[in-house]
Every structure is written in C-alpha cells, then in structure tokens.
C-alpha cells in the first residue's frame, strides 16, 4: 500500500523547502539521489544558514565583547542578537539565561561538572541521589556517572515499559527526599518517545530536586516554551536544528545559574583577575570562557529565523505526519520490529527497528547503496538497546524536508535488503 501523499494531513510544502537545502540535490554513487533519513543524527543546512556564515566571515568577522572598533561592534551585535533569537525561540524569560556551548553534550556536562564543585543547597554528596532514565543518550548518562562516582552519590534511573515509555510505576520511590537532580530526555533519539516532562518536573520540585532536560531532539521538532516546561536547565544542540556544528545551548533559570560555580575559566568569564584570585562575571558570560563560537551563533540565529518563518507548529505537524506514515508503512514489512512506541502518539520522528536475520550494519549498507542514509548502531543509547535485548538497531529519522516518497524508498530498500540476504 502506498498512501497518496496528498492524503497526508499536516505536510509542509516540502518541494519549496527542499529547494533551500543544497545538499538534497546531491547525487550519490551510481548517480542516485540522496534519501536522507538520518536527521536525528544531524540535520542539513539551508542556503540561508550557509550564507549567514559566509557573510559573517567575509564582512563582519571580529572577536566579540572585547573590541571598540566597528567590526568588533558588528560581530558583537550579531552574536548577542543570536542570543536574543534563541531566548525568544525557546521562551526564555531572560536573554541572560541563554548560554552558548559547543554542543548539547557540553551543556549537560556543564551542569554535572559545576554541580561537582557547588557548595550550599546544590552540593551533592554521600547518600544523595541523581535520577536519570534508561532511554538517555550517553551524553545524559556518562556525566552523571562521573558526578555520582566522584561525589559518592548514587545514580538511579527510570526503567522502560515494553512499549518504550518511561516506567513511572515506582516514581514515588525513585524521586525521594535524597534526590538532588532529575535529568531526562524530552524526546528519545532512539525510541522516539516524548516524555511527560511537566509531570516529572513537578514531582522532582516537590522534593527540592533540580530538573535538567535534554532537549536535543525536542527543540528541532516541537514548539518550545522553557518557562512553561517546568525544568530548571534545558540543553540542546545547533546542528540538529538546521544550524551549524560547533554550537549548543544551555538555558537555565537565573537563580540556578547564579548558584552554580563557574565551569571553564578564562577569557571573558571574569570580572577581575589578579594572580592571587579572580571574581567572575554574571551569567551568561560566567559560563562562556574564551572566544565563543561567534560565527556559529550567527548561523544558529539564521537557522532559528528559518524555522520561525515556517513556524514550529507546522514543523511539528509535518514531522508528525511523516512519522505516522512511516510507522504505518514499516508495520507492513515482514520480519520488522519497531523499538519504541508503534503509534504516532506522544512520539517524535525517530524510528528504530530490527529486521530479522539482517544485522543493522548490513541493512544500512544495502540502503546506502540505494542512496538511502539511515543510522545503524546503538545511536549513543546502549542501555536502551540492552533493555530491548538488542545490541544495535537501524534508525530512520525525519525532518521538515522529508517527503513521503522518501519513506516509500525506505520500504522498497528494506525489501531489497531482505532479498539480498535471502530472508523471508
């Protein structure tokens, strides 16, 4: 069954959007068109973002915050304007709550790392507990393992249901008066699950715990309002958001940012420095040591302009429509098991699956020979794979430029894969 494309509700005018992304016109080996189904890994960049980067380097390049001269003023204005854009895009109450990092991983580590040196209410030690979930990306597991190991605290986690949702049955036991931090992903990059952040944040705040949200997969796909979310700190990454590599964002509530000690030292994060001691600037600068990713911030600003012009509600609807279509079609494929919610309800646009008798590496290799780019492996979520008794999976993921025809190509590619490996 091939659903008529026009029958899908909520699709964007994909052809117009695709024209903005030069890479989508790439021909691959054997003159095959590119079918890019790996956007949860990284997204492509529209010409508008590429041009913003080039123009910045060619016309306005300078270091920021430091220079009185005209180029310095231009670069600083562009950089800080991007901070305003990010703040508006995620509904941050204050632009000073927006910290630029190099990626989401650094943003999450910034939190875990500064907590290791925090004193007072935020201090973490013996007997304290940090709660994560079994569906986290390694970047939201390892920092907390390092923190709890180093501070003698205990790492605990929510398990998963067979459907790939958080198992909240023991929430009262897990989130208790010893809990200092609850850190979890909003949208899973492997299972696609959308987690009930507001509810969990409420429970965490009831016991006085800090709530950290990994929004790496959420900010690209959903309209976001951090003020309404209920979290204290939210991390995401530019390259999944049609923005450049080399930039991420940590948003944090002012009071929390104020209570945290500095992260990296140097450059413009100071107020004053003597050889004997230093005092530190206020957030966001306190957490932005050294020359920041200036051009990348400008590029991220252009990416946000691009997405905002389309409208995040529409991007979300498109993602939803494509995901629903893909789930329907994948269910038709014999021997295919979806890991994670099989229905497009509370679900983002990443679908991981197993194909009986063919290893994901081999699936993706055959698909690649057809020009179809998917991801094979553990997608930096080994524990979630382990939970489902698999070592790896194949993942298809979608974005605002994905067409139903690309989903059809995936289905055909899977049929060819089965024929190649002679499995039913």
């Amino acid at each position: 069954m091939t659903v008529e494309t026009t029958a899908l509700q909520g699709l964007l005018d994909v052809e117009r959007i695709r024209a903005d992304f030069p890479i989508l016109a790439r021909r691959l080996d054997g003159d095959r068109p590119l079918v890019y189904l790996d956007s949860a890994n990284t997204s492509h960049k529209p010409q508008q973002v590429i041009d913003a980067l080039s123009e910045h380097y060619a016309m306005h390049n300078a270091n920021v915050a430091r220079a009185v001269h005209q180029l310095g003023a231009e670069a600083t204005a562009a950089f800080e304007e991007s901070r305003d854009k990010v703040a508006a895009f995620i509904g941050a109450p204050s632009r000073d709550e927006v910290i630029f990092t190099k990626n989401a991983s650094e943003a999450l580590n910034l939190v875990a790392n500064t907590l290791a040196w925090a004193r007072g209410a935020l201090e973490i030690g013996d007997g304290d507990e940090v709660v994560i979930t079994e569906m986290e990306h390694h970047s939201n597991i390892v920092p907390w393992q390092l923190l709890t190991e180093r501070k003698g605290a205990t790492l605990r986690w929510f398990g998963l249901t067979d459907e790939g949702r958080l198992d909240l049955s023991n929430i009262d036991e897990l989130i208790n008066e010893r809990t200092k931090v609850v850190s979890l992903t909003w949208v899973s990059n492997m299972l696609g699950t959308i987690n009930p952040i507001a509810e969990i944040a409420r429970r965490a705040h009831d016991v006085g715990a800090l709530v950290v949200v990994d929004a790496s997969q959420a900010v690209p796909q959903l309209p976001v309002d951090v003020a309404a979310l209920g979290a204290d700190l939210v991390a995401f990454t530019g390259h999944k958001l049609v923005g450049p590599t080399g930039i991420g964002v940590l948003w944090g509530r002012s009071e929390v940012l104020e209570a945290l000690p500095p992260f990296l030292g140097g450059g413009e994060m100071i107020e004053t420095v003597t050889m004997a001691r230093s005092t530190y600037a206020q957030a966001p600068h306190k957490f932005e040591a050294g020359t920041p990713p200036i051009a990348q911030a400008v590029g991220l600003g252009a990416a946000i302009d691009y997405l905002s012009a389309i409208g995040m509600a529409k991007v979300a609807a498109h993602e939803q429509a494509i995901t629903a279509y893909a789930l329907t079609r994948l269910r038709e494929v014999g021997g295919l098991t979806i890991l994670g919610p099989a229905e497009a309800v509370d679900r983002g646009g990443a679908i991981s699956f197993e194909l009986e008798g063919v290893h994901p590496h081999d699936v993706s290799q055959i698909l690649d020979s057809l020009g179809i780019a998917v991801r094979a492996g553990h997608h930096c979520a080994k524990p979630a794979h382990h939970r489902f008794g698999v070592q790896s999976s194949t993942r298809a993921s979608f974005y605002l430029y994905t067409t139903p025809a690309e989903v059809d190509a995936l289905i055909e590619g899977l049929d060819q894969t089965k024929r190649f490996f002679k499995v039913a």
């Binding site: 430091r66 009185v68 005209q70 003023a73 204005a77 100071i270 107020e271």
Partner: protein, 150 residues
C-alpha cells in the same frame, strides 16, 4: 562615526577636571565596580542624610567617557533627595540604552545631555554607565543599612 557627538566639549572638560573627585569621609557605603571588558574601575562612596544624598565621592580610573560621566553624576546628584536622584538616574540610564534615539531633557540631566552622542556607540555605553551603576549599588546599600540601624 560622529566623533564630535561622542566627545562633546562638556565631556572633555569634565574628563580634564573631574568634579567632586577623591574619596571623602563620612560615607555610609562604598562600592568598587569594574568594567570587565576594558578594566575601567571606580571606587565610589555615598553619604546619605535622612532622605538626602549629601555626598558622593569617588576614585575612578578609566576613559574620558567613564570619568566624565562620574563627574557629571556627582554634580547632578549631590544634594538631591534620594527619590529625585533615583529619577535622574533612571533618565540617564534610559538615555544611554536608547541607541541614540532618545532626546534628553536638559532640565533633568543638565551636563548629562552631552552623553546622548555616546549612546550611539554600543561599546561606550558601559563606560558611561560605570559610575552610575556604582552609585545605584552604593545608595541601595546605604539606604538598607540606614533602615537596619533605625
């Protein structure tokens, strides 16, 4: 770059001979503020009597803009009622953050209107505000400690 707008004669005069400079006794609060970017510094003392700003004294090191604006601040606010001083403070901050688009009120800001040009230079706004932010901080401390001992 409208250099003449930035470096008004009034500013250069205050820079060359700042008014009310030096640290004096008595005082109720002393603060030390720094512009982290350029390193400009000011140590500023406030003496409050009842609801009056009875003295502002300071030791400032910095560029013409930051020095002159601290001098103008002292001229403007010494002897004013705290409430009125706060009002002038607010007007000055608004002027400086107005990107050069605000028409200053000479009756309120007096020599302070000379900084309207500096508001067009984003890198210099912080210079112009250094002493003013210090005054705000010091006055708040002086008032708080006065209330505490009342």
């Amino acid at each position: 770059m409208d250099l003449q707008a930035l470096y008004q004669e009034i500013i250069l005069d205050h820079y060359k001979s700042p008014h009310h400079a030096g640290l004096r006794e008595p005082f109720d609060a002393e603060v030390h503020h720094v512009n982290p970017t350029c390193g400009d510094e000011v140590t500023l003392r406030v003496h409050v009597e009842g609801d009056l700003v009875s003295d502002i004294s300071y030791d400032a090191e910095g560029c013409s803009i930051s020095q002159a604006s601290t001098s103008v601040l002292a001229d403007l606010l010494i002897g004013k009622r705290i409430e009125d001083a706060n009002g002038i403070h607010q007007k000055f901050v608004e002027l400086m953050q107005g990107r050069g688009k605000i028409e200053p009120d000479e009756d309120v800001l007096e020599d302070g209107i000379a900084f309207a040009g500096a508001a067009k230079f984003p890198a210099r706004v912080k210079c112009a505000l250094l002493g003013w932010m210090a005054w705000k901080d010091a006055t708040a401390q002086a008032v708080t400690s006065a209330e505490a001992t009342r």
